[in-house]
Symmetry: C3
């Protein structure tokens, strides 16, 4: 039986531990939103470090508690860096978070995401289209071969990705977070639906990317499911609060970072979510 209070207590512990210990989660992430990822990680109490080169990535994997890989704006060197560091991650047995952003665009992205199947990301975060496409690429239930991924936008609602998310979680043994109007987080046996956020989150670039970075910070101190749910909850809480004081997407983003910083562990754990068995 699922105990919601137990989940909330573990979320509180994750938030507090991060604020107390400032754990590093190194990132290899896209250049569009790299600054926002770092600032979001800092705002919730973590530390940030970004890199491109293979041996530097290896260093960050070893130095950090978890690693965040976002395949946004791939550069040629990533063909060496990413396979190398997922291998180091596996050898070290450390958690990592994958954002398969823009899956379906370009051969290197497809090749890398295909390779990642064997390396079983601890948490996968994406919108519905991306989650369905990744399950398709990996030949899992709920996936489709032909993605209707449209740039980095989601064109699907979150529920249509439920089967794919559960299948991905069962394959990796970790968690999957699907971003949408309501967010879905699953570890393959439990599904949580998290409420909140703001329509402005689609009017700024990087809400999803930075969420992945924040999941990675929590994954340094919590289980994959708790890390994904805690990160999603603080995003939904901060998004809702930020919208109240925002005059547009510019001021929303600033308020959002402030609210990430100010949110208490109890408020985060109490941000509305429902749970069901998968």
């Amino acid at each position: 039986m699922i105990n919601k209070e137990d989940i909330q207590n573990r979320m509180i512990q994750a938030v507090d531990t991060v604020r107390r210990t400032n754990p590093i989660a190194g990132s290899i992430t896209n250049s569009v939103t790299i600054n926002f990822v770092a600032n979001a990680q800092l705002a919730i109490g973590g530390s940030a470090a970004m890199t491109y080169l293979p041996d530097e990535g290896e260093f960050l994997v070893k130095a950090g508690g978890a690693t965040y890989i976002n395949v946004g704006t791939l550069m040629p060197i990533y063909e060496q860096t990413l396979p190398h560091i997922v291998n180091v991650i596996r050898v070290m047995g450390k958690p990592w978070v994958l954002d398969p952003v823009a899956i379906g665009i370009g051969s290197l992205r497809t090749q890398l995401l295909w390779q990642f199947k064997e390396y079983k990301p601890t948490v996968i975060r994406g919108n519905s289209s991306e989650i369905i496409a990744l399950a398709g690429l990996w030949g899992l239930d709920g996936g489709t071969k032909v993605s209707n991924v449209r740039g980095v936008d989601s064109t699907d609602s979150v529920n249509i990705a439920k089967t794919a998310a559960v299948a991905l979680s069962k394959w990796t043994g970790g968690a999957v977070a699907v971003s949408g109007k309501t967010d879905l987080i699953t570890d393959g046996s439990i599904i949580a639906f998290s409420q909140g956020g703001s329509h402005f989150m689609e009017k700024i670039t990087g809400a999803g990317c930075s969420l992945g970075g924040v999941v990675a910070v929590y994954a340094t101190v919590a289980s994959p499911f708790i890390a994904a749910l805690t990160a999603t909850s603080v995003y939904n809480l901060a998004g809702k609060r930020a919208e109240n004081n925002a005059g547009g997407p510019g001021s929303f983003q600033i308020q959002f970072l402030d609210e990430l910083y100010k949110a208490t562990a109890v408020d985060i754990a109490n941000n509305p979510f429902e749970i069901e068995e998968a």
Copy 2:
């Protein structure tokens, strides 16, 4: 005879169509202002996607309604990516916007910009120095061989670029937008002078780069001249409004994104501009 009201009606239609359809304009742009470009494109209702690799660029050209190329911080891979995608753009017959930023700096930049002549960018956006230098590089009227481009600053006033801008427009069959205190937009037969903006736009990085990205979004739904004039108008309107609530360049940039988001189609079309025959 030029009908100003007709121009304004087409501007209103461009603004509304973008807000209703959220068209994608993919970008290959510099890393300094890449986040601001994306956020400006989102603020006016468009969608954004950035990339570096040749086959990903090709995908974005095919998926998007227009493409934005800004040669700011060139990376080695651009030697392959940019010639490849302008060729795809030409084959597809799609619009594209060129920002020849920092023309004159480095051999790859010069080589690429020289090659682009045959590919006839739909809209060219730059400050006076850059427009004059591009006309010079392409051997057109009003250009000079020796650019006095000073980093990314404009050291010339907009009127001295009039001949170059008209010559470029006549060559490409598209439009040219010259940014300055007053902005000049021409399609080779009409010249519009757009008023507004703020002195703070020179105190933040990326006002010009992000304007190019916004032109590309409007170019997905409007003619080159209307796209360039609409983008310039919303920038001048939002800049003027943002200055009223700004305590400095930091808050100006935030207010500016808010005002891009809030500006109505009618307000944008009514932002002061004058027209004359070229």
Copy 3:
């Protein structure tokens, strides 16, 4: 004997000259904070230009009054670009600022930083760990071979880097700025301790990186020591003022840019600092 009033007068002159002449300091810097570096340089009245390629870097060195090199997110091309441009800098006899961020991570970073010893950076800026590690790499007093650099965070207080900072200054004949709760600036014979700043500066990414860029702008018009002290003083002043109106790290960063822009030369020179002989 050290004359504090003379130092303050030279700081005032540096601030005013930058505001009047908008000097360019070109940068090769990391992609995480590249936008913040440029915006900080613009806010204090300078001009910004960033690049990656060897010949473009050479152009910027020649066009600018000083150059900023931050080894944050190294890309493969930097193996060619950085040795080339430090050589051009030496031939031209121009000032440059080095931020040895994340020293100890990766072989290219170590190789480059080791090479830079002979090129004697005009100003070196880092936190205590980085300054100690650089002195160690260069075999100077106060350095340690084994760095306890933890990502880009400082884990040491500023005083433990005093010997290393003085040794580095004596080697280069320039200045060293060590960032911490109190900041230490030395030219090898004088040591200044600058007060102010905000706890929020550790909750945003790029406070240190952008400080390096601002030092480079002042280094176009002032001595290494005055450039480093002036930049540190405006940072400490703007940080303290920004904190008063900040609701969190998001709004802090915005206020901080506004305060950089608004700070008067006299206020900057009067920001508290003490001096002693080294």
